[in-house]
């Protein structure tokens, strides 16, 4: 049986109080808080986090592909799935594909992934979705949106939730969109968009699938479906006949916000976190149509390694102190440029050093065992040449060996840069990197840290991604 074999999620550390957002504009708050990607995060980096959470150090050798879905991919032309696959250290002989352009992109990637495994074109694959959409400053959507990601592993053995049914409707309407050059999400009048669009189509898809499978609402253990706002969500649950307390999965609007194409994944992860064998999970997704999936949870779920998932990331957070910081983190306000970088990046060097830059491999000498980062052809200790094994350090923890709080190199909205020398838990390899998602006063020698994939800076016309460390979340 084809289905989900593992899951992972990611919610950025920063949360912004919606009251603070409302206060900045003198308008009403919808309450709660939303997640905010840090200024070094984007949909690609968040997807990488979710995939690592999904993999939990498992072998990559039998993974046959990685699909990525987002409406906010960091490049208009340039595959992101290949970037993510390399970064999470997948082999080269795999399927990669990006799904984009609509809020249902995540559902489309999931469906394609399930189909690929069912048809035998891949034995196992990963599907990741991430979004960080921008709404107009001052709008209600600005408060309602959130940033986040989730990833699902799909396969046909050790399945924790088998696919039992699927239902899809396509529908052309201009309810929510962004033109090629739009920064912010546009929408038509809410009453029409929500009534004739979201509510009507989600109801058709979810009840259509239940009817197809001969289920009544009581036959569904958990119903997970995103919604643009709490009221619309509650109303749909009511119309479908689900008990809001026992059956409906919290739509994560109060503490996270609507994470676009990633949101159905995040809700499925949330449902799976508390699921037990025999449960049925109904999943919905909306965007120019609607789509429903029915999963049945198996005994395998009890064997799954522990992971952060939605609950773990939700609890681990930092408050973004001001609304203005959100504006500059997301590039809506310009930051004062710092000193220019002396070294310009090079696409060829980036390509050549991919083992270090993306895969985050060190080299372990076969003669003396010294582990050095970045990869060294000649061993630092015994000078043996070209005799080493590559060791992945990205999903290993470490401790701060020494650090500085540098006031010269930061952005104007984030003036303190933590330069850190980290000693990895793997053979005490030393990694020099920047720290992110930190509070300056808490940084100390010996602090436990983990590595996180981030944007470093834009130069030579493309994004430079590399690894930073952060206090263990």
């Amino acid at each position: 049986m084809v289905g989900i074999t593992a899951y992972g999620a990611y919610i950025p550390a920063f949360r912004l109080s919606r009251d603070l957002m409302a206060k900045a504009w003198g308008r009403a708050s919808i309450g709660g808080e939303r997640s905010i990607a840090n200024n070094d995060e984007d949909s690609a980096t968040m997807a990488v986090e979710a995939v690592f959470d999904c993999l939990q150090g498992d072998s990559r050798s039998d993974l046959g592909g990685l699909f990525f879905a987002s409406t906010t991919a960091p490049y208009r032309e340039k595959e992101i799935s290949s970037l993510i696959a390399t970064t999470v250290d997948l082999p080269a002989e795999i399927l990669t594909a990006d799904f984009a352009n609509g809020l249902r992109a995540g559902a489309a990637a999931l469906r394609s992934g399930l189909d690929a495994v069912a048809s035998g074109s891949a034995k196992n694959l990963l599907v990741a979705a991430a979004d960080c959409r921008l709404a107009y400053p001052q709008s209600e959507s600005e408060q309602a949106f959130g940033d986040g990601a989730a990833a699902l592993a799909i396969g046909s053995s050790k399945v924790i939730a088998t696919l039992e049914g699927h239902y899809s409707i396509s529908n052309e309407m201009m309810d929510v969109w962004r033109k090629e050059d739009d920064t912010f999400v546009q929408s038509w009048e809410n009453r029409w968009a929500l009534g004739e669009g979201y509510s009507a189509l989600m109801q058709r898809a979810l009840s259509g699938l239940m009817k197809k499978k001969g289920l009544d609402p009581k036959g569904v253990t958990r119903a997970a479906f995103p919604a643009p706002d709490v009221r619309t969500h509650r109303r749909l649950a009511q119309v479908l006949g689900f008990d809001p307390k026992s059956q409906v999965v919290d739509p994560l609007l109060g503490q996270v916000g609507d994470c676009g194409a990633a949101h159905p994944f995040m809700l499925l992860v949330s449902a799976l976190e508390s699921a037990k064998a025999g449960d049925t999970i109904l999943l919905g997704a909306y965007g120019n149509g609607a789509e429903a999936f029915l999963f049945q949870v198996t005994e395998e779920i009890s064997k799954l390694k522990s992971r952060r998932g939605i609950q773990g990331w939700l609890q681990s957070k930092l408050s973004l102190p001001t609304y203005e910081k959100y504006l500059s983190y997301r590039g809506i306000l310009k930051t004062q440029p710092g000193e220019p970088f002396r070294l310009l990046p090079s696409a060829t060097a980036y390509w050549r050093d991919v083992g270090t830059i993306l895969r985050f491999h060190g080299s372990k000498c076969r003669s003396c065992g010294t582990l050095a980062f970045p990869i060294q052809r000649v061993c630092y200790t015994c000078r043996t040449k070209d005799s080493f094994d590559e060791v992945r350090l990205s999903d290993k923890k470490g401790k701060v060996f020494t650090f500085s709080l540098d006031n010269l190199a930061g952005r104007s909205d984030d003036p303190v840069i933590v330069q850190s020398v980290v000693e990895s838990e793997v053979d005490q390899a030393r990694v020099y990197c920047l720290m992110t998602d930190f509070q300056p006063k808490e940084v100390r020698v010996g602090m436990p840290v983990e590595f996180t994939f981030r944007r470093i800076y834009e130069g030579a016309g493309f994004q430079n991604y590399f690894w930073k460390c952060r206090p263990v979340r």
Binding site: F341, R342, L343, N407
Partner: protein
């Protein structure tokens, strides 16, 4: 391997006014230092048989020896440029020693020059690493303060107490610089000034960091047996040591961050050539690389001036002040005299040269009867160290 002891001598030196030299370009600075050195040695440009020069941040790629050839109109001779981060000036000097010691040339010019103040930014810049991606936001203060954090941790020093300990180095160097007409800064500071100054890269504050200056320094090197033909008081080279470390410390497996192999190795090689057994007792002046106060502290220990982990006691007792047992950075050091990168090694040697000749500009800063002096620079991430030892008599 042979020793450099008493084989070559310095017979003339020049040093520009250091500081924000808005008035002077790279060529102007080189002209100022070279012509002072010519005059000091009693020679002219026609006497120079080869030139070893260094500059680090020249605004163009492939600067070669152009500054010297075009600025000084030296022609028909080899002009060889090096770039070795902050050790650049010393490397030019040492190349000149070796060119003369080899017997190839008799009169050689060594010149270091740097024009930092044409960039529009106050610091040395961001992204100074070896790699455009994984060292993209490295700055000098941020890199060197890693030493301070670890030193305080290793020796269980409360960071604020530690900041006071290294802050006293800044107070000393500012005092020394205030007596030096050619220094970039002339202000005396108190420990309170140091502690209250803005943080640049914690734990280092403004006064823990050296100035970014424009400047140039030059030396005329000749054979020891010819030296007295130029002047009665030549300064003899007693030894030198240069050590480069492989793999920058940030990534070096097992690196302690409180001691640097390059510092230990370069100083020991120089001591060996000079026949120095106990540098704390045998040296009368040392000009060392105080790019940051913490750097000067680890040098005290790596050079054998202070026991390991106990440099703080010597700072407290004033051992390294002008009146102390071993005056360090008597001209104010990089901290106060300024740090035009490629010029610094030769500027430090200029101070040792003048002190050994008894020719410090003001009597209150002249060290009494010095015989042996050391100059040193330490550069890069940091990775390279260069030391030279001088004496005012043969033997």
């Amino acid at each position: 391997m042979e020793s450099m002891k008493d084989r070559v001598a310095i017979v003339g030196m020049g040093c520009t006014q250091f500081g924000e030299r808005w008035d002077a370009g790279l060529n102007d600075l080189a002209i100022e230092s070279a012509y002072e050195a010519y005059q000091d040695a009693g020679i002219g440009p026609d006497d120079i048989q080869a030139c070893y020069m260094g500059t680090v941040t020249a605004p163009m790629i492939g600067v070669g020896g152009t500054v010297v050839a075009d600025g000084l109109k030296l022609r028909g001779i080899p002009i060889i440029r090096n770039e070795n981060w902050c050790a650049t000036g010393h490397i030019a000097l040492i190349e000149a020693f070796m060119a003369v010691a080899s017997g190839m040339y008799d009169v050689v010019l060594a010149l270091g020059v740097e024009k930092l103040k044409d960039t529009g930014f106050p610091g040395l810049g961001t992204g100074r690493g070896m790699h455009p991606v994984y060292e993209a936001r490295r700055t000098s203060p941020g890199s060197f303060s890693l030493i301070a954090t670890r030193y305080f941790h290793q020796y269980e020093i409360d960071p604020e107490k530690g900041r006071e300990m290294i802050g006293k180095i800044a107070v000393k160097n500012h005092y020394n610089g205030s007596l030096c007409p050619k220094a970039h800064f002339h202000n005396r500071i108190t420990l309170e000034d140091v502690m209250k100054a803005p943080i640049i890269a914690w734990p280092l504050g403004l006064y823990d960091c050296c100035g970014n200056s424009d400047g140039s320094a030059a030396a005329i090197i000749t054979r020891a047996d010819m030296a007295k033909n130029f002047r009665p008081d030549p300064i003899y080279v007693k030894g030198f040591g240069v050590a480069m470390d492989s793999m920058i410390p940030h990534f070096r497996p097992g690196f302690s961050w409180t001691s640097f192999d390059a510092l230990v190795n370069s100083s020991h090689k120089a001591y060996e050539q000079a026949g120095i057994k106990n540098p704390r007792e045998e040296l009368d002046i040392a000009e060392v690389h105080d790019c940051f106060t913490i750097t000067e502290l680890v040098i005290y220990e790596d050079f054998g001036f202070s026991p390991r982990g106990r440099a703080g006691e010597d700072i407290e007792s004033g051992f390294f002040t002008l009146q102390g047992g071993l005056p360090v950075n008597a001209d104010g050091g990089l901290k106060c005299f300024g740090h035009p990168v490629g010029a610094s090694g030769i500027r430090m040697t200029y101070e040792v040269y003048k002190q050994l000749q008894g020719k410090a500009e003001k009597p209150e800063r002249q060290i009494k009867n010095p015989r042996r002096g050391l100059s040193h620079t330490f550069g890069g991430p940091p990775q390279i160290s260069a030391v030279a030892i001088f004496g005012n008599e043969k033997g």
